[in-house]
Symmetry: C4
Subunit: 229 residues, 4 copies
Amino acid sequence: MTLDALKEQVRAANVETVARGLVISTFGNASGIDREAGRIAIKPSGVPYAELTADQIVITTLDGVPQDNRFKPSSDLATHVVLYRAFGGIGGVVHTHSTYATIFAQAGREIPCLGTTHADYFRGPVPVTRALRPDETGASYVEATGEVIVEAFRDRDPAEVPAALVQGHGPFVWGPTPQAAVQNAYLLEEIARMAYLTLTLAPGTGAITDHLRDRHYLRKHGAAATYGQ
Amino acid sequence: MTLDALKEQVRAANVETVARGLVISTFGNASGIDREAGRIAIKPSGVPYAELTADQIVITTLDGVPQDNRFKPSSDLATHVVLYRAFGGIGGVVHTHSTYATIFAQAGREIPCLGTTHADYFRGPVPVTRALRPDETGASYVEATGEVIVEAFRDRDPAEVPAALVQGHGPFVWGPTPQAAVQNAYLLEEIARMAYLTLTLAPGTGAITDHLRDRHYLRKHGAAATYGQ
Amino acid sequence: MTLDALKEQVRAANVETVARGLVISTFGNASGIDREAGRIAIKPSGVPYAELTADQIVITTLDGVPQDNRFKPSSDLATHVVLYRAFGGIGGVVHTHSTYATIFAQAGREIPCLGTTHADYFRGPVPVTRALRPDETGASYVEATGEVIVEAFRDRDPAEVPAALVQGHGPFVWGPTPQAAVQNAYLLEEIARMAYLTLTLAPGTGAITDHLRDRHYLRKHGAAATYGQ
Amino acid sequence: MTLDALKEQVRAANVETVARGLVISTFGNASGIDREAGRIAIKPSGVPYAELTADQIVITTLDGVPQDNRFKPSSDLATHVVLYRAFGGIGGVVHTHSTYATIFAQAGREIPCLGTTHADYFRGPVPVTRALRPDETGASYVEATGEVIVEAFRDRDPAEVPAALVQGHGPFVWGPTPQAAVQNAYLLEEIARMAYLTLTLAPGTGAITDHLRDRHYLRKHGAAATYGQ
């Protein structure tokens, strides 16, 4: 992938988070990685989405060191770097404060798999991280945010559940490409909204059975997928 | 009805589910049946709605066998086939994951008839199916989904209550034509939304009386209907 | 007022109920009265709003007898007639199934005066009628709907609280003109929405004090009003 | 700042409250102050926003005395005057009845700092005032509304928490300029909405830790801010 193509993908992904209603004000950022070329592309900090150009996208090394200092990268860059390092298969990361995903993060609750809409895209609950300790909100805060996400995936496959809720903060979502990550962020918001409504209608509702969940997930994902043309 | 007319009806019904906000991403499908000509028309699997053409609509026999293999039919085809066979009077079936109908399905609760808005179109509660057993989520999963709907209508007239909620999944809705099924899916979502709001405001709310329900239902339906011009 | 002016007012009021999101499908109707000329103008039954013309508006006597039979009047006509007879000062009536007002009707609960937004336009709670008895849902159902509203206003001034919730059904709203009735229906929906949200956030919330309520109501209404230019 | 620039700022701020969905009907007003020139500019009372011109903006002294009587000032003028006097650093005030902020005011509850979205803009809970006493809803009602806000800020910095909820009424919001006040009113509504959803999903949810709150607040505000370009 050329550098220009990466920048344009990341620009488009950032703009799409706004177009899909996942980001208000400047609460969010999307990035992409080109592992072969050894670079990460990410939104510049605090730039209004409407004015964002591919030229403003910040390019860094795989360790998150910017290649020039024309624009400051997103203040969440270090979280993205930790995720790219820990989750070898992902190509894009999106962070939003989308309403329903964020309220589960604020409530400190995972999003249970309450129906097949959820199971079609996330094979099990979307986890919430533990709260950060006081010593994790200092200079290393942004890295620590990534590390508690990785911690929540010790027993989970990030390819099968491509999102996490950072407690008291909001969702980080990923996928094979920046565009796929945006689509997952959109689907996450929809299933979070349905979960909120289900749980306020019927507070004790439990997850669907594993066999129904897998029947749906595996119809759309993996070697035996049958969905689509 | 010509084959082209059937295909166009089904294309339009699918597009309308999106236009009315009942379907996001590719979560949904609409079909129609021509019983005289012995064919069913249904959305192809996983094709974006914006690009859907009448030519892509898949034609099958009444047993759900596609007439050619240019496009794969919706993965829910077998559910539609079961409904057409069991409910002799219907001409169209729509499946969505519309938000409020789906949360009742996720909560495993029927939608009670809480007001005249409901009674104007559904003569009694919209039932929720029982959960599928593990042996029903294997190879026969899609047929089984239809069968639990039919089971829920043993003591009910599908013409008077043209919708069911598949537990943990979402609504299937029908009508005399594909267009009527879409309209019923739209009305179902509205009454589900009102029911959610009523039940979270006042959890113990019961159904309206049978006489008020029938007063409204029969004003718009049946031989003695007086509504409209 | 000329007959044409009355018809046009009523056509516009009906169309505005849809434009303001108060009416979906054909769930609603607006009427106006010219007491001097002795006529009521009302929406025809079941006609789509988008196609409604002033010529289709049905004209009746003050007793609700249509002057011709080109179009059937709204099936709720008799309710409007009862309200015009009982509430001498009103010039327009609007019936909707607007979501939040309707859910209070379904829950059988009045809308308490929880804040100054409410008090600016309604001097006290918006009442809910008693449920109709079985003998009131027969031939005289539509009149009975009007009568239970009037019953709820025995100790209330319909000029100060220009709306009622018919239990299990929805709101009827009025005002000095059809346009004012639509505006009141719009404000009713907004305060019903705020009341729903307040009561689900804090179920025990009580009404504001009478002195705060009157401070706001009387700033905008009555001889001592000071609001506006 | 020229008089014309002040008027235009205030006109634009009023129009933006409507464009951002914070104000329906005529429920709201925005003002600005030019402390050097000794004048306050505020919306005229009850004028529809769509027709508002800079020429209609009312100019008063710092004590709220209009400089001419072409238009009556907003009926909430005296509240704005009290806030400008008490909070020396602010340049604009906005009053709305925006839905979610208002329902916390109606419920008599502060908006707790439940997440980093809140902490990015408000350093701690948004307070609710005490209820007004009967003797405070007479002739001095509008001043008293300002005074209970000031009372709620005895132990708080209005620069760090630029909003208050007047109990039973709605939010007053401020900022260095009228435009900043509108932006704060918009952010307040978003965090109020998230707080409502969080508290109805998980009623006992507490505030995030002070260290996480300050980590976010101080990233965007104060001498050590690092956010943006």
